[in-house]
Amino acid sequence: MAQESNENVIDQPEVLKPRMVTIDIAGKKYEVPEGITVIKAMWYAGQEVVRGVGCLGGFCGACATYYRTKDDPKVRTCLACQTAVQDGMSFTMMPPFPARKALYDIQKLQDPKQDLFNLYPEAPLCRNCNACTEACPQKIDVREGVWKAVFGDFQSVSEMFMDCVMCGMCTPVCIADIAPNLVALYVSRAQGAHFTEKPAGLDQRIKEITDGRFNDEWKKILAMNEKELADHCATVK
């Protein structure tokens, strides 16, 4: 396409009439516009959704949903705010699942790698079925993460689960009653609080502030009138 050509400057489209598709929400059929998100399809179908919507941006995990596409027996998982509907799709939202979360004081742990087995004694009982990994809409290798946690490789777990939105879809499928996301959350926090180097520069800066290193500069700046302050700001690039 030539750069001078005007046609791509503003491409006058025919605004398309949406094609309607038939979907199935929790067992009932509805006609909705193709390609809207699963959550929007529920609104379009006239449903009030309170539980099941949070950030609408793919980060909070409130909208965990099971779905199946036409003629495919495989039930998959998705985040409803991040998935488009297609013809013949059926879906239902995941109800809150009563997984057990261990309570701990992260700062007071003496031996976090050992404590894992007290807090989550089920963690080493993983039976390698891989259902958790298949259930994860964030494509985390959840099963691998559980093993790495058990073997004390906390750093890898914390990196692997940075994408975890805590949707909990890995928990109801676990035949060993593990809540992999909660195990990983504990492990990641322990990694941060206990096995990551303390940043020396940060302590230095905190000390400078308490020692008043910037006091003279503050005095100067806070004494300026509007004009002086604006001029001073203009010199900072």
Partner: protein, 527 residues
């Protein structure tokens, strides 16, 4: 024409653009641009507020209508408390969690009530990072100056000084709780440069900064056994005979029942207004960002500050249709991603402040240099593949995994194809006026986080919000907790509502809507 054909121009002009530098606007040019194109300057979108603490001040029509709205409560409501506590925190985002944890840590009995689940908020979505001056060549003073410049010199100096000075100790607190900030090889915190900042100052957790902080804070709230009331939205505050805040009435969204909470102090941390879709803009905000805290405090007599200015984030997705309004993180531009119009030209320094970048995108589109999608939306290109071209293949995937995944779900590989963007309603720059303890002019009513105003002036600098939440969440929590001994639980009345209604009547009555809004009405009326 299809979007792929339109994209070619970005690939064709990439090499020529790489070496080009674009100067930032001079202050005069910047003001001219903003006055002409920034949505804050569309006079027709504004009107004066007719009564209340900000009578005569202008704000957008959508907000004015809610502020003048009526309460859903009538004078005869049963005010027998279901719960009694020292501190009631309303809102389960970053500011609410920080407030609850600090108040609890200081020994107060705390209840945290929130509209959706704990953590369903704007805070989980923050990708770009958190500004804290930790680098040796940086300082709190420089942070102060950068923020002032970004805020058009309108920031409250006292609030701002407190924020920049407490930043480093906040980073330490979060690290001790287990937050995994990105590090340099020597173990120090890695800092990135953000738009409008003179020094690299953004602390990040990959592009999941808000999510990582919120995972940890939520976990900590639960570990500390702080009493939670989820799916409970505040619909009215309570006051005693002297106008002090004494609690709140919540509505349980599961059974529609009212829950009355008596508290010695109340901390509102209800976040922003994106879901009001001001001026018809799409938004990056969460489902519950409906400005509830502003309405609740306004009726109590709290004064608002800078509520005529909103932040339209330059890069909201325009395509695919499913991601309309969703944020394309500023980090892309921080790392060199360029903005390109339909002619293949750059038109602004991508690291200028948000109001400038947004205004220039709107200018390009209004002057016919935008790109139109099949559904009729207009935008400009953000050249994401440029990052791989500059810093080596795999850069986008490594630094922006969240964004890669988000677009991948719709079959778009942003490391190969540019993305189409247009400003999206992102942040409420102003809010309820607070002092350095986060308290409003209503005694024992605190407001923390995005719902508060003054700190950011007329334009918030990127990355300053996450710090705001932590600093003023903490200050509100500690101050509220410190009152536990000295304050006795006041009476629970709706006297403020009587005053509000009397005043409304004098000025031609309330606007006819019920506020707060609680949730946007997206459900289609069928049948």
């Amino acid at each position: 024409m299809d979007i792929h054909a339109l994209q070619q121009i970005v690939h064709q002009t990439r090499d020529a653009r790489r070496k080009q530098t674009i100067a930032k606007f001079s202050p005069a040019d910047r003001d001219q641009l903003i006055h002409k194109y920034h949505p804050d300057w569309r006079a027709s979108a504004y009107r004066p507020i007719r009564f209340g603490p900000n009578e005569g001040d202008k704000t957008v029509v959508e907000l004015a209508t809610l502020l003048e709205g009526d309460s859903s409560l009538d004078g005869s409501a049963d005010l027998t408390p279901h719960h009694t506590t020292d501190v009631l925190v309303i809102g389960g985002g970053g500011a609410g969690c920080a407030a609850a944890l600090h108040a609890h840590g200081a020994g107060a009995k705390v209840i945290l009530a929130t509209k959706l689940r704990l953590g369903d908020s704007n805070s989980v979505m923050a990708q770009g990072g958190m500004q804290i001056s930790v680098a040796p060549e940086d300082s709190p003073v420089t942070h102060f100056i950068d923020t002032l410049k970004g805020g058009h010199m309108q920031n409250d100096h006292d609030l701002l000084k407190v924020m920049v000075e407490e930043g480093p100790s906040i980073a330490k607190w979060l690290i001790e709780l287990g937050v995994l900030f990105d590090r340099q090889a020597d173990g120090n915190l890695h800092v990135k440069k953000g738009g409008g900042s003179s020094k690299p100052r953004l602390l990040t957790c990959s592009d999941y900064t808000g999510l990582e902080i919120m995972r940890v804070l939520k976990d900590e709230v639960i570990n500390q056994k702080i009493q939670l009331l989820e799916f409970c939205a505040a619909v009215e505050l309570l006051s005693d005979n002297d106008g002090r805040c004494t609690g709140a009435i919540l509505k349980d969204l599961d059974n529609q029942q009212h829950v009355v909470v008596a508290a010695k102090s109340v901390i509102l941390a209800t976040g922003g207004i994106g879901r009001l879709h001001i001026q018809g803009f799409p938004t990056s905000n969460h489902y519950g960002a409906t400005g509830d805290g502003l309405c609740l405090s306004y009726r109590m007599g709290a004064k608002l500050d800078h509520i005529d200015t909103f932040q339209y984030h330059p890069s909201g997705a325009v395509y695919p249709e499913q991601l309309i309004g969703a944020l394309v993180t500023e980090g892309i531009r921080s790392e060199g991603g360029q903005l390109v119009n339909a002619k293949g030209e750059r038109f602004v320094n991508e690291l200028d402040t948000r109001d400038v970048v947004s205004s220039s995108i709107i200018r390009e589109c209004e002057e016919g240099r935008g790109i139109r999608t099949m559904s009729g939306r207009v935008g400009v290109w953000l050249d994401t593949p440029l990052l791989d071209a500059e810093h080596g293949p795999g850069t986008v995937e490594k630094h922006f995994p969240a964004m890669m995944l988000q677009f991948e779900r719709f079959g778009i590989d942003i490391s190969k194809d540019p993305v189409l963007i247009y400003p999206t309603l992102h942040y409420q720059n102003g809010g309820v006026k607070i002092d350095t303890n986060s308290e409003t002019n209503v005694k024992n009513l605190f407001v923390a986080g995005e719902a508060s105003g003054g700190l950011h002036g007329r334009n918030r600098l990127m990355g300053n919000s996450l710090l705001d939440l932590m600093v003023f969440g903490k200050r509100s929590g500690l101050t509220a907790a410190s009152r536990t001994g000295s304050v006795t639980q006041g009476k629970l009345t709706l006297k403020h509502l009587e005053r509000f209604r009397t005043e409304a009547k004098k000025h031609g009555n309330v606007s006819g809507v019920i506020s707060p809004m609680i949730l946007p009405a997206y459900t289609r009326k069928v049948g």
